[in-house]
Amino acid sequence: MNGALAVLRRELKAYFYSPLAYVILTFFLAIQGYYFSVIVAFLADPRFPGGKPLELFFGQTIFTWLVLIFAGTFLTMRLLSEEFKSGTIETLMTAPVSETQVVLGKYLAALLFYLFLWAPTLIYVAVVRAFTPVDWGPVAASYLGIVGIGALFLAIGIFASATSKNQIVAAIVTFFCLLVLFSVGLMENLVNGATAKAILGHLNLWTHMDDFAKGIVDSRRLVYYASGVGFFLFLTTRALAARKWR
């Protein structure tokens, strides 16, 4: 697994050497910070019913999803596209590393950067803790949901990146796929058939995240994310190997 580690390390460096990482970090924190302050202001207003700030931060609103979908798109778009475009893929694939090692290394780098992106939001938890007791279970569950859904999104993103040498095309494909994946579950409320409703209900990421924010962890959902990650990473290794059959 040395090869995967070498790929992982280079990829992490590549994030921090490029302005992209800092732009993403800045906007991510600006949006999250603004959003958190809006929630706090909302809950502080005596005219509105009270609530738990962290539950609102992670669930029940569209903000979380905007952040997740954009992060999934921007963090992955260049992972493989850039290698194809610049030709560095030749160096990589003539080294004694397998397609699986390359894909794993790059994916884990994206995942680590994604975690790094979310890490500062722990400050919000600390802020809330400073004024009121925090129920740690739902907080942990929320982060579990963020990591699980994020992992799935990143896997879809890296797959899209393996299908094109153009980063923009990869980004558009990822964005579209994530939008579909997100909205297909919302159709739950629009269909009438009991079976369709049940199936879409299982796929409804919105309710998944709401539940995580309330502290409900359904292991079937974790299995869903994990198998999705496995499936798309497998597709990515196949797409990388597909250069051979073209």
Partner: protein, 318 residues
Amino acid sequence: MIEAHDLTRQFGSFTAVAGVSFAVADGEIVGMLGPNGAGKTTTLRMITGFLPPSSGRVTLGGRDLFGDDVALRREIGYLPENVALYPEMRVEEYLVWRGHLEGMERGLLRRRLAEVLERCLLADVRRQIIGTLSKGYRQRVGLAGAFLHDPRTLVLDEPTVGLDPKQIIAIRELIRELGRERTLLLSTHILPEVELLCGRVLIIDRGKIVAEGTPTELRERWLGALGVEVEFGAAAPGQRDALLALPGVETAEAHGDGRRFVLGCALGADPRAEIFRLAVARDWTLVELSPTRASLEDIFVRLTTHDEIEAQRAEVAS
């Protein structure tokens, strides 16, 4: 020892390489010549394991490169065409990364890194960001990366492209050194380079090997015998007959004011020494004696310009 067995590569309905077979032995430098689009790069991509052939095999010391053993790729160092590097990395950092990718152990990597930086004349830019380097330096970083892990086989796709004349000399010297202890295959379209570096030449055209041999063999086979130009200080009677009488001389044409001759020689014959002795014996001042040896360039042009010839023929026929 790297061997290509009947390599064929198709892209859709286009056949880029059609049944190419050759072997490169240890300590041998083989040059691959061919016009653009002849299939050089595709062949090299197959030889290095990047692109599996549609049919045929590549073996490295008898073992199949496209088998399950990914570690076999460690024995090949590859400098791809247009040297793709990561522009945001520093030279040394990039080379260390290549070492990690090859699974080199720390101490060995440190030693090899120092050696490679020095041999590729990169020591003074080791801390520079690759994106800020000139083409010549980037080429050398790529070359350094290719032999950092000390592979037994080196494959270089146009290694001297984009270098200035001084750098070209330095890199050729390095290639010659590297070829001494390794199997080395390089592609180029700079013909003098092949003559200077390579013990053997493969001329490839439209996906096929059209000629193979040492530069000398190719010359003899494809352009026949040597020609010699002789010029004496002054014309004298009997010069032409005396030249014609020499062994190996078949034709002698007089040029200019009658003291200059262009000789056609028999295959394999080289009458230059006899010409010199003749001039001394007859007291004729020799002011020029030069071989008009066909260059590889002539052979190359002859072998690869059939497109135009065929097009002309087709035009005439219609």
